[in-house]
Amino acid sequence: MILEKKRSDLVTMILFSMVVLSMPIWLNPLGANYPDLLQKFAIFGIFAIGYNILFGLTGYLSFGHAIFLGVGSYTAVWSFKLLSMNVIPAVISSVILAGIVAAFVGFVSLRRSGIYFSILTLAFAQMFYNLAYSVLTPITNGETGLQLALEDPRVIDRLFSTAGEGLPSTELFGLSMSGYSGFYFCAVMLIVAFYVSLKIFNSPFGLKLKAIKSNQHRMKYTGYNTRPYLLTAFIISGMFAGLAGALMAVTDPLAGAERMQWTASGEVVLMTILGGVGTLYGPLLGVVIIKYLENIFSAVNEAVLQTFFDFLPSWLQDTMVVIVSPFVGEGWHLTLGLMFMGIVIFLPGGITEGFQKMKKRFFTKENSESSNQEGK
């Protein structure tokens, strides 16, 4: 039984890696196989997986995770500026720094639970945003955002070569991190992140987190010191967010304060609950759906709509365009908000739960039908 389980973890990982790495192929028919979008899938996938470790397993709703995303991005860009354009030091330092910041924010916020925890993280998010936007301008370059510059020292790079002309681009030992190679790098990181998440879900540690979500009171009277568990989960999810932030900088080396707005944390909540909070694959499903739809919806404008409804009689065509146009293009956020509400109202367990419900209904229906037939 034990051996079987071990193999199934391995099988899961192989299947998962295959699915992720072959995304450029199987997303082709959907028209979603270009590197930009694929990178987004992977990056937000990491973000959501990490968020799910906190919110999904322990039930603590944080609005502060955009902080760690931002810290990751800033750290990565600084690593590009000061050390090297190689992504390895950038990623490592980002994850570590995000972990440290998460440890601080988590240590303070986790002294409270429930809505107080949410509001504390909200206050921290706004505080860090303000810091990044105006106070810490020397570090974050404020409103403009942090960018690469020609005169950056890049000490490690300078040891091996002289500065070339023009801005250098991010690379992994000579392999440029733009386009598909950038995606594959993010994809490998996603696979690593997923592996960690899978291990946590299947470990006694994960079980204890779920137990905290279910009944923290009982947990304390069962001999557990719940706070270190929560803090660990918080730090791990913060490090995932830091990794995601670093990868954003890897694929596009600039970092801005808007990445740290608390509403950005709202987006990752939506992705997580849309797919299915607390499930292993749900958050990834949510990310793919939302980023894919965002990609389509925000590209659509009135002209596109006109052609889309071309088959209708012209008066109906115009009406349809008028009806639909508020929800596309600039109005994508409206659609997002409506989706958000719809999911929370009708399907709090997300799509994963929806599938299970449908499956159940389908099967019970079949069963009852067959039993009816037997009755006849």
């Binding site: 002294r111 505080m127 105006s134 709202g266 109005g331």
Partner: protein, 338 residues
């Protein structure tokens, strides 16, 4: 001295806005037990009531401009001016204060619809779900407003007569240069009026008594056979009106844009928490306190001493209060203390 007085007034102004939003927020939380992330959106909707009303009043028609004689020029002339002449212009001038009369029924309606249509179904859900669904609603409202009014702030001026500044310096026998905008003073007085009426309403009427009892022990009030559901709906409507009126009157101070609700939301949550979740007096006191604190922190003397303190002071205070005195300044013992 002058600077301190100005900052005090600025702080009171800001604080009045925080207090009015937080008042409704804590009222809704105390009675309905719902954490409403869409409350900031109500404030924003109030401000857009003023914008809309102004737009309606200034609906114009193209007419020939008689002041330009050497060719036929056109100008936009509001119907009100054409119909009523100077009286019409005066009405337009007073758009913001007049829009209060439109805002009250509109906000009440919005509040009732929101409670009946959405919030009611979330009484029994978890706080996390309440937060998420109202957060979604806030986004929807915000985006709808952006769709109709665009992304840019819309200037909504106060009536001409109060657009100048009051010479408070000379009233108090201080410097002649000490002046303060009339409208901000009016805003302050208006807020005080609203806060007083809400408190009077809750203290003096039977309805208010039930609401206060409900805040104390919701189940008990239910056992007494009082139709709590209906009372809740009205409380929610009331909170919406208060937030809306705050928005209307704030429009001349801060030109409304679609995300002002979200900006104020976080602050008012902080205010509610500092004041004590579910405590009305606490919300008002904390609102003014934090407004003044923020205002003083932004004085040059202070920012030179601690750069950027004005940007984070409120949140720092909130974090410290939550950690050292989780029930807030005036919260009841045992409420949400875990």
């Amino acid at each position: 001295m002058d600077a301190i007085l100005i900052q005090l007034l600025n702080g009171l102004d800001k604080g009045a806005a925080y207090a009015l939003i937080a008042l409704g927020l804590t009222l809704v939380f105390g009675t309905l037990g719902v954490v409403n992330f869409a409350h900031g959106a109500l404030f924003m909707l109030g401000a857009f009531c003023a914008v809309t009303f102004q737009k309606i009043l200034t609906i114009s028609v193209k007419v020939v401009d008689p002041s330009i004689t050497f060719f036929t020029a056109y100008k936009e002339q509001p119907y009100l001016e054409i119909w009523f002449g100077d009286v019409g212009l005066a009405i337009i001038d007073y758009a913001v204060p007049l829009s209060i009369f439109m805002a009250i029924p509109v906000m009440l309606l919005i509040g009732l619809v929101m409670e009946r249509g959405l919030i009611r179904h979330f009484y029994k859900r978890t706080h996390a779900e309440q937060i998420l669904v109202t957060f979604g609603l806030a986004i929807v409202i915000q985006e709808v407003i952006r769709h109709f009014f665009g992304a840019n702030p819309i200037p909504t001026p106060a009536p001409d007569i109060v657009s100048s500044s009051a010479a408070i310096g000379s009233w108090l026998g201080l410097s002649e240069n000490l002046v303060y905008p009339w409208w901000r003073l009016i805003y302050l007085a208006f807020s005080a009026l609203i806060i007083t009426s809400v408190f009077a309403f809750l203290q003096l009427t039977t309805f208010g008594m039930i609401v206060r009892a409900g805040m104390f022990d919701r189940q008990m009030v239910g056992f007494l056979g009082i139709d709590v559901q209906r009372k809740f709906t009205i409380v929610f409507g009331l909170a919406a009106v208060v937030a809306g009126l705050a928005g209307v009157m704030y429009a001349p101070i801060l030109p409304p844009d679609y995300h002002m609700g979200m900006d104020f939301l976080v602050l008012s949550f902080v205010v509610v928490v500092v004041g004590g979740m579910g405590s009305l007096g606490g919300a008002v006191a904390a609102g003014f306190l934090l407004g003044i604190l923020q205002s003083f922190a932004s004085m040059t003397v202070i920012t030179e001493l601690v750069p950027g303190i004005d940007q984070v002071i409120i949140y720092l205070v909130a974090v410290i209060v939550l950690l050292t005195r989780p029930r807030g300044l005036m919260g009841r013992k045992g409420v949400m203390e875990d």
